[in-house]
């Protein structure tokens, strides 16, 4: 009995154990890995990815996803940048970024929630549209010299990079949403069984709209940070970033069939991928090979996860179903 409790505990924290093992392995593989400089660098690089991972996690938990987030990031980023360049008001630039993100995602939400278009299709369309608008607006050219706007991506507060602090704040907010609000609980219910959630009096459409709105804000914020880090408004930037977000969420244990996922797991998932990329750079793995390894590891990690979960679950189900628990 004790033994099974232990395995259950291990299973629950398996993702963090993987992260720990990886951390140790990386520090053995390269002497540079464990330097404060390198670790801070990893954290800074991960910022945009983690924001997108939260966005995808919110949606996957409730049974949806967003393929347009990379493009929406670019669109809101360039619009924020050009707002800043003409007004020099940071708050205004950020507001524009959020607003653009929200508008794009409200369109997504209308199709997903009102017209029942599969999220995959609706957001695939938005991916093209948002990218198109970004390129049209800029004429395909990068917007250069952002002035103080770069602080958002490159600035420091004491020893801490600004984007890291922003992501920390967002992490706390998203964690709170999932663990301490009715909205968060509703997401799990909707993703776990939408019909049952509806029959239990949850306004599923409203929750879907709120989710996409939050995703819009996250996309806008990520867009602003992304452009600031690169010191330019790049309409062609962040292509394929939706996959970065999806990967982190999935590796972090978010179930693609909905209803399961945690913020901490997603953070761990993002760091696992971040460490992997970092160590491969440090030990000089060819970047084409890197891509191959990354792809393989992602699929394997999820396959293992699903396998161990389904085994555990069938065991549990059989055990309780076939032998009534005489508590």
């Amino acid at each position: 009995m004790k033994n099974s409790k232990l395995t259950a505990g291990l299973q629950r924290f398996s993702i963090f154990i993987v992260l720990l093992v990886m951390f140790v392995a990386c520090s053995l593989l390269s002497p540079y890995f464990l330097t404060p400089n390198n670790l801070m660098n990893v954290a800074r690089q991960l910022c945009v990815g983690i924001l997108l991972a939260y966005a995808e996690m919110i949606l996957i938990v409730s049974g949806f996803l967003d393929l347009s987030i990379g493009s929406v990031l670019a669109l809101s980023g360039v619009l924020a940048v050009s707002t800043y360049k003409s007004t020099h008001v940071m708050v205004l630039a950020l507001l524009v970024a959020f607003l653009v993100g929200i508008v794009c995602n409200m369109v997504n939400a209308v199709f997903v929630a009102q017209f029942d278009v599969p999220a995959f299709i609706a957001t695939l369309g938005m991916q093209q549209v948002a990218r198109g608008i970004a390129l049209y607006y800029t004429g395909g050219a990068n917007i250069l010299q952002l002035g103080k706007f770069v602080q958002l991506g490159q600035g420091m507060v004491g020893p801490f990079p600004v984007p890291v602090l922003i992501v920390l704040l967002i992490t706390v907010i998203v964690w709170y949403l999932f663990n301490h609000t009715r909205y968060g609980r509703s997401l799990y219910a909707i993703g776990g069984n939408r019909k049952a959630a509806e029959a239990s009096g949850i306004n599923t459409k409203k929750s879907i709209f709120i989710s996409y709105a939050i995703v819009g804000v996250l996309a806008g914020l990520a867009g602003a940070i992304f452009m600031a880090r690169n010191n330019s408004g790049i309409p062609n930037g962040a292509v394929g970033y939706e996959m970065t977000g999806l990967t982190a969420a999935i590796v972090g244990g978010t179930s693609f069939s909905g209803g399961v996922g945690t913020v901490m797991g997603t953070v761990a998932g993002a760091f696992i991928i971040g460490f992997l990329e970092n160590i491969m750079n440090l030990i000089g793995v060819n970047s084409y090979i890197q891509s191959i390894i990354e792809g393989a590891i992602i699929v394997l990690a999820v396959a293992f996860d699903i396998r161990s979960k389904s085994r555990k679950q069938t065991k549990q189900i059989m055990a309780v179903k076939d032998e009534a628990p005489k508590a």
């Binding site: 009995m1 099974s4 663990n179 301490h180 609000t181 009715r182 609980r185 509703s186 799990y188 219910a189 993703g191 776990g192 069984n193 019909k195 049952a196 959630a197 509806e198 029959a199 239990s200 009096g201 949850i202 306004n203 179930s255 069939s257 909905g258 209803g259 399961v260 679950q313 065991k315 549990q316 189900i317 059989m318 055990a319 309780v320 179903k321 076939d322 032998e323 009534a324 628990p325 005489k326 508590a327």
Partner: protein
């Protein structure tokens, strides 16, 4: 001495931490119906899975025609002539009748191309032989659940089976189809086919079983000829204690009319549905499968649209457009479809129980999870929900316990009017009794219950008044003193119509 078709000797099966089957032995005679009775979780389904090769037994031996056999997988089971009708139907709703009939064994020519002409020919022949009125190219989703169940049953037993395992075959078919099924079983018996029959419905078991084996906690309690047993004995052996009273009904003084539904219409589904319920009353809805009872309740609860109709609570008209409106007005509905509209399988029992009353645990921007656990724990204790912990996934609970969790969900909403649609479907005798007791407690607290059920004995046992529906219409309403199975069946089949509306005409 009768010929033994199937002999099971000393079957053992353990799962980590639990012994599901211990030393199970019984004999099934050729050409007889052998009923397996036991509560949910007694081990019947595990035993079925061993017999069809889905599980490997840890010990023991299976004999067919007194020859030891080893059944490693379902395909082998089929080769040994064992066929199974599962409780949960397996079919593809997007495919046609004929495709489902021939699934996994479509005839092909030598190039591997499916011989559709042959499929059509054989399907037509088959449907005609079995007197089924569907077209072979009809998609399964256009059929009703009971049609599909009949199709599955007939498919399984015409598969040249020698031994047919039936797990709750009548759980979603109407009385008329049950009769058809029993005729079919009789035919099979005459052909020398043996049937292992699992059911919670005792009256059915006694109608067709030749032998009855009772299983409790994974072990055989007794195995006797049916004529030597009676229902009470079997139930007592199943639960391991004597049941004093199957229906703990208490006649209470009734209060005011608290709930009234007037003239509900939805074209082609139900028409001019009017009923009411008093405070402290249990009102029943009887009818055949497909009479429209569930549809009416779903429309009342705001889950389905309606064309017209009014709802009055405490005499005041109310608008209910969605379930959340209903809940906020003290009306809840326990759905008959536990899987689709009830259980959230990937979440814990606690989250499943509190999902309809989240506003009590999340307010003012804060969560109150301690209160949530306390409330859920309290209601679980009251309802005797058996769960290892409050964080256990609901999907690992037995049917009866899962149903109690769903009832707990609604109890936490503190409703005034509870619509319970088939509250005891597919759950074992012990849990049924507990749900009846709970219903009695609920009305004692001054709440009101509207119960839809396809089991006449439970309606007659528990209700104060029963409405009967037939083909989308209410054909009558009976007071408790006038209850009788015959009368209800007459109304349900449309042979009799005593509704006021009809008289006025």
């Amino acid at each position: 001495m009768d010929e033994i078709k199937l002999r099971v000797e000393g079957i053992e099966k353990s799962f980590p931490g639990v012994k599901a089957l211990s030393n199970i032995s019984f004999r099934v005679r050729k050409g007889t119906v052998h009923a397996l009775c036991g509560e949910n979780g007694a081990g019947k389904s595990t035993l079925m899975k061993v017999l069809t090769g889905l599980y490997k037994a840890d010990a023991g031996q299976i004999y067919i025609d007194e020859k030891p056999v080893e059944i490693r997988n379902p395909i082998q089971a089929r080769e040994y002539g064992i066929s199974m009708i599962a409780q949960e139907l397996n079919y593809v709703s997007e495919l046609s009748v004929e495709e489902n009939l021939f699934m996994g064994r479509l005839p092909v020519n030598r190039f591997g191309k499916v011989d559709w002409k042959k499929v059509r020919r054989e399907a037509i022949k088959f449907l005609k032989e079995e007197n089924l009125s569907y077209a072979p190219d009809q998609k399964l989703k256009t059929l009703t659940v009971s049609d599909i169940q009949m199709l599955e049953i007939i498919k399984a037993i015409t598969n040249n089976a020698q031994i047919v395992l039936m797990d709750e075959p009548t759980s979603s078919i109407s009385e008329r189809e049950v009769k058809l099924l029993f005729e079919k079983i009789q035919e099979l018996k005459e052909k020398g086919v043996s049937i292992v029959y699992i059911s919670h419905k005792m009256d059915e078991v006694f109608r067709i079983a030749d032998d009855i084996t009772v299983i409790r906690d994974g072990a055989v309690v007794s195995s006797d000829r049916a004529e030597d047993l009676d229902i009470d004995t079997v139930i007592a052996r199943m639960v391991g204690r004597k049941m004093e009273n199957v229906y703990p009904k208490e006649i209470l003084p009734l209060g005011d009319k608290v709930f009234e539904v007037k003239n509900f219409c939805q074209k082609g589904i139900f028409d001019q549905i009017s009923f009411h319920a008093r405070k402290g009353e249990i009102v029943g809805f009887a009818g055949l499968v497909g009479a429209g009872r569930t549809e009416v309740m779903r429309a009342v609860y705001g889950l389905d649209p309606k064309e017209s109709g009014e709802i009055l609570i405490d005499g005041k008209p109310q608008t209910i457009r969605r379930p959340e409106d209903a809940i906020s007005k003290g009306v809840i509905m326990l759905s008959e479809d536990r899987k689709e509209y009830g259980i959230i399988p990937v979440r814990s029992v606690t989250e499943n129980a509190s999902v309809a009353s989240l506003k009590n645990y999340f307010y003012g921007g804060m969560s109150h999870k301690k209160k949530e656990k306390e409330d859920v724990g309290r209601i679980f204790r009251k309802m005797n929900v058996k769960t290892p912990t409050l964080d256990t996934l609901i999907s690992s609970l037995s049917g009866g316990n899962a149903q109690k969790v769903l009832l707990a969900r609604w109890m936490l909403c503190e409703p005034e009017i509870m619509i319970l649609d088939e509250p005891t479907r597919g759950i074992d005798v012990g849990a049924k009794f507990e749900i009846y007791k709970l219903m009695t407690d609920i009305v004692k607290e001054g709440r009101t219950i509207v119960m839809v059920s396809s089991e006449l004995p439970e309606l007659i046992g528990m209700c104060d008044r029963i409405y009967v529906m037939c083909q989308g219409l209410i054909t009558g309403c009976l007071e408790r003193k006038d209850f009788s199975q015959e009368k209800i069946m007459m109304l349900a089949t449309g042979l009799l119509n005593t509704s006021d509306r009809e008289e006025e005409r």
